[in-house]
Amino acid sequence: MNTPGTALFCARLLRRQLVLAARRPVDIGNPLLFFAMVVALFPLGLGPAPDTLADFAPGILWIVALLSNLLTSDGVFRSDFDDGSLEQLLLSPQPLYLSVLAYVCAHWLVTGLLLALVSPVFALMLNLPATGIVALFFSLLLGTAVLSLVGGIGAALTVGLRRGGMLISLLILPLYMPVLIFGSAAVKAAVSGSPAAPYLAILGAMLSLAVALAPIATAAGLRISVDA
């Protein structure tokens, strides 16, 4: 009976969040369904010509992934704020930076990672050339992790507001833009036969920066939200 080690505590938080997510499968399924629905809209709007779709596919897939991430990041801290768990987390002797990282990691595992895993199917729907699919997978893998980390900041700042959904979009969409630019550029490069690795490297650099800085901002945002 002693204070658990920080690593153990974070592993337990991660497990708690994953169990909570698994017991609400709707929350896991919704972003994927959203992704599928919106991707299915584009052939209707742009016309079903395979060549046109293939041209637009990298941009479409990345924008839809971004929006579906935006849809879920609102809820990262919501239920814990409502039931008082967040207060207890802030009073914990454990470093909030790492706790926040555990929350965001759980969010990424059930949204970004799943999205990256199923993205080849949607890429085929839009007739993305096979050479682009690998780049799409890896760019989404790295990029959605950045999106989850940045989305956590917005979620922390708006968790105390009744209708934070709109505000969170305004707050974090500008920060999503670099990820979108380099993510879709990686796929376009791969499609046109040039190497995607430089773009993936830049996404990796963004991820490193986000891992280092975003949890600090998120932790500060949570303290402000609980204080208010």
Binding site: T3, L13, S85, Q88, D227
Partner: protein, 194 residues
């Protein structure tokens, strides 16, 4: 320990010049009408409110804060709620958790999902943390809400046992405390500790 606390909400001065220290073996009952600032005071003491008040609060050693919200996840079982508690305060064995849950009358409910429990049972899952806690200072905001008569009596004897072991309890309640120990009253409309 609190020094010279003043709080203003919505243009109204709730309390001013409030100074007191919480010592071991002390039970402090914070009293006052609805809106007198009891919850705000507890949150300031806990360190959850860090701005919007004047004065200084010094905390020594770990504390346990139980607020209005029960911090119980409906989609976790009572056992999981305690074992994976976000406060990260301590690590408990299965036996300790079972013992604590049966102390609050939830024996047999350890492994059912919490959303099937009543509001009072939710509160009891949260109160089980008192039986597990090793923190000397307890800050409790309305701990008796939604708890039945025998539960209140048991909590009060738990408070008495805790202060006899050198702990301290600061609580807000609209109920009279009937415990086997001296209770200091802090009336927020008066602003001084007699």
């Amino acid at each position: 320990m609190a020094e010279d606390l003043s709080l203003e909400r919505g243009g109204r001065q709730l309390f001013t010049g409030l100074s007191f220290a919480v010592r071991p073996q002390q039970v402090i009952l914070v009293e006052g009408a609805n809106g007198a600032g009891k919850t705000s005071l507890i949150r300031i003491l806990a360190g959850l409110s860090r701005y919007g008040f004047e004065g200084r609060v010094a905390r020594h050693g770990p504390m346990l804060y139980l607020g209005h919200h029960s911090a119980v996840k409906a989609l976790l079982t009572p056992r999981e709620n305690l074992a994976w508690h976000v406060s990260g305060e301590s690590q408990y064995t299965d036996d300790e958790i079972e013992a604590a849950l049966s102390r609050v009358g939830l024996h047999g409910y350890e492994d059912v999902l919490s959303h099937t429990l009543s509001a009072g049972q939710h509160r009891r899952v949260n109160l089980a943390r008192l039986y597990l806690s090793r923190s000397p200072l307890w800050l409790l905001d309305e701990p008796f809400t939604a708890i039945d008569v025998s539960g209140v009596a048991e909590l009060q004897s738990l408070f008495a046992a805790h202060v006899k072991q050198g702990g301290a309890v600061v609580l807000t309640s609209h109920q009279a405390l009937n415990i086997d120990h001296q209770v200091s009253r802090l009336d927020l409309s008066a602003g001084v500790l007699p």
